[in-house]
């Protein structure tokens, strides 16, 4: 897994990372570049993005449609007509 992503996960899921000393120690021992370490310490998301060459582009997020006009889907299970 990408080291930066691992670090972001650790920062988000380890309560100890709220402590500056613990955070600094974790960042120092993580196998990330100096630029990444600095970006993480200064909460600089744009600089962090620049350090990841293959970061996927997200152009839109899923939203709810104000009027959901999605047609009700109906399928015909048995189209044969039985005559009685």
């Amino acid at each position: 897994m990408s080291k930066v992503i691992e670090v972001l996960m650790e920062m988000a899921s380890n309560a100890e990372m709220g402590n500056k000393q613990s955070l600094d120690a974790m960042l120092a021992s993580a196998n990330i570049t100096e630029a990444q370490e600095l970006a993480l310490k200064t909460n600089d998301i744009d600089s962090l993005k620049e350090t990841i060459h293959d970061l996927p582009q997200i152009k839109c997020i899923p939203i709810l449609l104000p009027e959901d006009n999605y047609e009700e889907i109906t399928i015909v299970v048995n189209s044969e007509v039985a005559n009685f």
């Binding site: 972001l8 909460n43 990841i52 582009q57 899923p62 939203i63 999605y70």
Partner: protein, 273 residues
Amino acid sequence: MSGSLVCVGTGMTLGAHISPIAKSHIEQADIVFSLMANGFAQKWLEEMNTDVRCLQKFYLEGKNRNITYNEMVEAILSQVRVGKKVVAAFYGHPGVFACVSHRAIKKAKLEELPATMEPGISAEDCLYADLGIDPGKTGCMHYETSQFMFYKRNIDTSAHLILWQVALAGDKSLGKFSTGKAYRQVLVDLLLEHYPRDHQVILYQAKGIAIEPMRDDKIALTDLVDAELLMQTTLVIPPCGKMQPNEAILEKLAAIDKKEDRIKNGPALTLVL
């Protein structure tokens, strides 16, 4: 072999919110379709499974989202139909303000394909925690902003009013990525029928990654027109009035209380033979 579909939520903050069962579904899926809110989360997902297919390619500015979402549903279900164990991973909660998962599950079930949903921590969950709002305190109304504008609603100004997708206020085309000031002015004018001009409202955004601060910008209602709004920005309107007692109901309840007290405290009955 029968395919299956599980729609999971990955939560709002990368790494902090995903549930063990959602993570397990992602790791064990044959194919994971994804709609994440940022590149970091997408990359994180791509490292949890070797076959992650991003659904972003279906989005185009100007393209009707009904078409986009139906194409996404078809992409997901086409793999379920050929027997794959498919997971559709959405940021936040897969079933809150996201119609792709609901459509996909509904259609799968009509085709008698197994389909389920696993909840995730939603923006709404984060909002209550970040802004310190308890929806039970005075009540809380939630609307999609454009829907709130298109239809007549009863606004209760003694409860919180939360308008989602405010950046798309008034978009009838379903194809815009944001609407402009003129649209927002219509929304503000509508809200000014109920709230004072200087009423303080909050622009809220949950944090997506650990180093991103949540947004809780407090502005006057009229300043909404010029505010910077992103697709994930939510407008929170705190109450401007007090709850009004419902005297008629209170009288009815008092009468019941009185009757019950009479029964409880009345003279003990003795059986006389």
